[in-house]
Symmetry: C2
Subunit: 346 residues, 2 copies
């Protein structure tokens, strides 16, 4: 695997989940119900569906997106207003199903072997099952939203589902294209990743009948948090931290994905170095040692550190968006998530 | 291609669209709006999406499902009640998008080369685009339903979308399995095909606030029509009529699909003949002349004609379901569709 990048100080190591402890504690009760709902809704008389769904459900994701829905609803006073209400739980589970469906289809589109340190579902059950179970989970997500019965929430989440698909299609166009600019890249990650974060937090306000200004604040928080999250993910793909998280280093490189660290290294590089990026990412001609060379070029041009700096910028926007809410444990918990997402890189 | 089956009298030839003229005339105005809505909603700033969507939209399907939604809404008096209403148009377009998304994903799952006599989208744009544009169209379908704002219709259509996916997953299990019974096969086609027909017609009643009994009648009509439709489709796959319709003969055979004509031939056949079906469909060992042999076995055991007889049975149920509605041009139009679906085989 060779040399790996470090993006920040190494004083805080090993990295722990400390910064999301607050949101985990505050949403613990809600998330227990979300997990029960997820298990229930992944059921089907067609055995393959719960089998494959459980592989994903037990694969140890943090459930960050549904946690954000529960926390946003709490921040907006949903639980105080409806002590027995379960709508935030249903929407949170729907958000997680939308995410899971996207992962299943992504793995097919990217021809990935691994997902969260485990074999990707398509490697066990085949592409066919991954496409179809993804469709099933998306259908179940919509059924949960219909059960909640809020047309406002349905509007936010169904719009997100088209924007996510648009982002994925856009990415097909930027992949293997070194002419991709930082703006092109941002348009892709806003759609394919950040739109679901934005919808996950916005529905917390919609459900609680909060003002347009609070709704916009939570949408902006989620959108910018999502951009920061994806930027760090893309930096991590070239970093030694990635291996610690149970993921392959260099997946994006092998798949020809032109992410921000690559955009920066390409633009700042010499003609010879640009030739290297075109050969590996555009032509897909990857040889022994090329990943090490890519990592060395990222390091030479501070591409990892600068990608993290960009993430901090979007993280700041997310924090300022929240500032219209009075200070509270719930607001603090959402602020902590921003720090958590960014500090994964250090 | 060799020998092909004939399932009925050849007096009525060449086959014309005569039997659906009535529904086409009655829904002409609505369908013009549906087509405009489809073109509008297939748009996106991401060029590949409208490009691929237009390939499908212009590929000459009859738009039977959205036509059924318009006609069912008319039968239930929607247009009289809401002369400027557009909700039936939106739902019809949503139904067609659900169908189109399913076709895109099916082609990937089945590794099909052709669709409606044209190259399948995945052969031109790749599996990746087919998966993702399918997701986009499904998202757009839900957005249209949300725009209509009827939770009842959302319930019917979102439930259908999970049932369709379940049916497709079920089919993965029955494909290449000669132990498939007629009941197993029926369960698959009820889910993967008939559920959307049932939803397409049921929403016509839901939208018009008709009684539970009328709603159930239209659901039953659509469900049984859908079963008959798929039975005939599966019989046609081994028939010379198929070539006239611009489709390949024997696609199901090459894909190892255990459809009713095969179930009947297998059960009625000798041990040697069963061995033939196991070799070709279970083991996928298909040699020159095997398709001709399969067609000969279907003919020997009247499997095509008996599949058509089964279709007539479900067609009769569909017609009786409609009988609670007073006789009218609209009811007659829906009745004609049953005859049309079944007579495709003759």
């Amino acid at each position: 695997m060779g040399q790996v990048l470090q993006f920040g100080s190494e004083t805080q190591s090993p990295h722990s989940d400390a910064t999301i402890e607050r949101i985990m504690t505050l949403t613990e009760g809600g998330m227990a119900k979300v997990n029960a709902e997820i298990l229930k809704r992944a059921g089907s008389n067609v055995d393959l569906i719960p089998e494959l769904a459980k592989h994903l459900i037990n694969s140890g994701g943090k459930r960050l997106r549904p946690m954000l829905t529960i926390a946003s609803a709490q921040l907006c006073g949903y639980e105080a207003k409806a002590p027995d209400g379960n709508d935030h739980v249903m929407l949170a589970a729907a958000v997680e199903f939308m995410h899971t469906a996207t992962l299943l289809h992504d793995d097919v589109v990217d021809e990935s072997d691994m997902r969260r340190g485990k074999q990707a579902a398509r490697m066990i059950w085949g592409n066919q099952a991954s496409v179809l179970v993804g469709d099933y989970l998306l259908g179940q997500a919509f059924r949960m939203m219909v059960d909640v019965g809020s047309l406002g929430c349905l509007d936010v989440l169904s719009s997100a589902s088209t924007v996510i698909a648009e982002g994925e299609v856009m990415q097909l166009g930027t992949a293997q294209r070194m002419s991709t600019t930082e703006d092109d890249y941002l348009a892709v990650i806003r759609s394919k990743t950040a739109a679901l974060f934005a919808a996950a937090t916005e529905v917390g306000a919609v459900l609680s009948d909060r003002s347009e200004s609070e709704r916009a604040a939570l949408r902006s928080y989620g959108m910018n948090l999502g951009v920061a999250f994806q930027l760090i993910d893309d930096a991590l793909d070239y970093s030694g931290k990635q291996a610690q998280l149970g993921k392959n280093v260099g997946d994006d490189f092998r798949e020809g994905k032109v992410t921000l660290p690559v955009v920066l290294s390409y633009r700042r590089g010499t003609e010879d170095e640009r030739q290297f990026w075109r050969r590996t990412l555009e032509d897909g001609d990857i040889r022994d040692g090329d990943l090490d060379q890519a990592i060395a070029l990222l390091e030479r041009y501070d591409a990892g550190a600068d990608t993290t700096a960009r993430a901090r910028h979007y993280g700041s926007i997310a924090l300022d968006a929240l500032a219209i809410f009075p200070q509270s444990d719930h607001r603090q918990a959402l602020e902590d998530v921003v720090a958590f997402c960014i500090e994964r890189a250090s």
